[in-house]
């Protein structure tokens, strides 16, 4: 089951590692964390019959992971990923939509895409347009008040075309989320805001398939997707160090072996 998704995710992990190594750029941990979620969402949204779908990446720092997935889904050319973060590149260190229209919103400052997604979902609803709006936010990003402003409003507007995915890897920039600005009980918070709340394993495609199943969705929905920062590379997993550090050649080779 889900062999195609698993293969895309595996290829994307390899590519993302190469990209951050070549660019000596940060955020490989966040990129490995988001990849399976991104594979699930973009696999659906890039199908021609789902042209009305929109996937917004609020955690713009996971850009390498997102671009790698898009390359593996043949949305962007390989030469773009090989020039990632180089001068004149199409791909910047935070999600850049300039050359990738399907991303729509360039991000990098946290707390921006959920309000935008709410506006897009409301626009679609008012214009009776088809398609679903997905927005991926990080758990550290739940510190941003703008997300909670949007969280207050969306269920009142009965936006059943809006789905939020929280990449819940429990680490933020300087340490554990629960030792920084604690989020728990996180699902209770969203429930109290009247969202449809589901908790899934953010690396299991059987569970991830629920992200794009809207049969019983009657209102704005949020998935708390439990993930592992640095997923797939043992020495990067659950480590704050790899929020910033790019792998050197030796580390890259070790990491590539693991994800293969």
């Amino acid at each position: 089951m889900f062999e195609i998704e698993k293969q895309v995710a595996k290829d994307a992990r390899r590519l993302a590692l190469d990209m951050v190594h070549n660019a000596q750029s940060a955020h490989i941990g966040s990129s490995l964390s988001i990849i399976d979620i991104a594979v699930q969402l973009f696999s659906k949204s890039t199908k021609s019959e789902n042209a009305g779908d929109l996937v917004l990446i609020s955690k713009g720092h996971a850009a390498a992971g997102v671009y790698a997935v898009l390359k593996c889904l043949n949305v962007i050319p390989a030469e773009w990923t090989s020039s990632y973060c180089q001068n004149g590149s199409q791909l910047g260190g935070h999600v850049t939509s300039t050359h990738i229209p399907i991303l729509e919103l360039s991000t990098g400052s946290l707390g921006h895409a959920l309000p935008y997604a709410l506006g897009r979902a409301l626009g679609k609803s008012r214009l009776r347009q088809s398609g679903h709006v997905y927005v991926v936010i990080s758990d550290g990003e739940c510190n941003e008040g703008s997300n909670w402003e949007a969280a207050l409003l969306a269920p009142f507007l009965k936006l059943n075309n809006l789905t939020v995915v929280i990449d819940r890897n429990r680490l933020q920039s300087l340490g554990k989320t629960e030792e920084t600005v604690p989020l728990e009980p996180l699902s209770d918070k969203w429930l109290a805001f009247n969202w449809e709340v589901q908790t899934i394993d953010g690396h299991d495609f059987n569970e991830l398939s629920r992200l794009t199943d809207h049969k019983n969705q009657t209102n704005a929905r949020v998935f708390i997707a439990n993930t592992v920062k640095g997923k797939g590379v043992t020495f990067m997993e659950n480590s704050v160090l790899w929020h910033y550090r790019p792998p050197n050649l030796e580390e890259l080779e070790l990491a590539q072996k693991e994800v293969s």
Binding site: G119, Q129, G145
Partner: protein, 304 residues
């Protein structure tokens, strides 16, 4: 001006199905007609300006021409990064409508003053700046705003501003001649232009003949070109805004860009916090933006 704005927007919305109005829980007694007539194109985003501006961006991303209406500081400073990253960077069709230019909400205190907004908004790339002096200017400008794509900032007064003159604007993209003159030209933006009109009326007849007055409701080089500044020996700029980065600064930058050498005196608000309580008239007097202070500045300039 706010009543004129909402009335005209409501009228234009009957012909243009793309117009969408977002408010930040403000506009009691003003926005109801629009909300009732076009419920599908109206949203009260509540007291949450960051979300309001993000939602406005998303609506614009869906193809709407979005107007975000609130008081002075709220739809500008409270959500500046949403304006920069979401609206302006993505060149989205959002018009930020701030009521309460300068000291219009005087007695409400400094929190509600819009005295740094022009400087803040006009440094954003792609942001078009509109600052009408009265309802006639606003009426001329609004259809132009609706036709123009991309981010826009519309700075309005409050209500009951007097008409600056019987003279009509000839085009939304040119400055409006309020009074011709030969030697010194006064450029004002926004409702404070009425203080200039009164100041000129207080001048002696011989002095008055020397003084021209233009209102500049749209910040564009083309609009300033239309004035023909080279025909004057001196320029005085007048704004209800801090002197740093505002309208006078814009004119200085225009002169530098065009390499024109003309003496300039800027009249505006000193960049310091005001802890005074009072209405707009009182606060303008304290800031020396009242007719007799402006008249003194004009006379001083004419003596040089």
């Amino acid at each position: 001006m706010r009543d004129t704005f909402i009335r005209q927007l409501t009228e234009l919305a009957s012909e243009d199905p793309d117009i969408f109005l977002v408010v930040g829980d403000l506009g009691f007694g003003v926005i109801e007609e629009f909300a009732t007539k076009y419920p599908k194109r109206f949203l009260n985003a509540g007291v949450s300006e960051q979300n309001m501006m993000g939602v406005a961006s998303g609506l614009a991303g869906s193809g709407f021409k979005v107007f975000v209406y609130s008081i002075a500081n709220f739809p500008t400073m409270r959500c500046l990064e949403q304006i920069r990253n979401d609206v302006a960077y993505h060149n989205l069709n959002v018009t930020i409508v701030a009521v309460g230019a300068g000291f219009a909400y005087g007695t409400l205190g400094y929190s509600h003053f819009a005295v740094e907004d022009l400087g803040i908004m006009r440094v954003l790339p792609k942001m078009a700046i509109y600052s009408p002096g009265d309802s006639d200017e606003l009426k001329m400008i609004l259809p132009h705003i609706i036709e123009r794509e991309g981010p826009k900032y519309l700075r309005l007064g409050k209500n009951g501003e007097p008409s600056l003159s019987d003279s009509k604007m000839t085009s939304p993209e040119s400055a409006r001649l309020l009074k011709p003159g030969t030697k010194l030209v006064i450029l004002s933006t926004g409702g404070v232009g009425i203080e200039v009109v009164k100041a000129i009326n207080e001048l002696s007849l011989t002095s008055a003949d020397l003084v021209a007055h233009f209102s500049v409701p749209y910040f564009s080089h083309q609009a300033i070109d239309s004035i023909g500044l080279q025909n004057f020996e001196q320029i005085i700029t007048v704004e209800e805004h801090v002197l740093d980065g505002g309208f006078g600064s814009y004119i200085l930058e225009y002169l530098e860009s065009n390499q024109k050498l003309i003496r300039v005196k800027r009249i505006g608000i000193q960049r310091s916090f005001s802890y005074e309580i009072g209405n707009q008239k009182y606060l303008r007097e304290l800031a020396r933006l009242d007719p007799s202070s402006i008249r003194s500045e004009i006379e001083l300039s004419l003596e040089v």
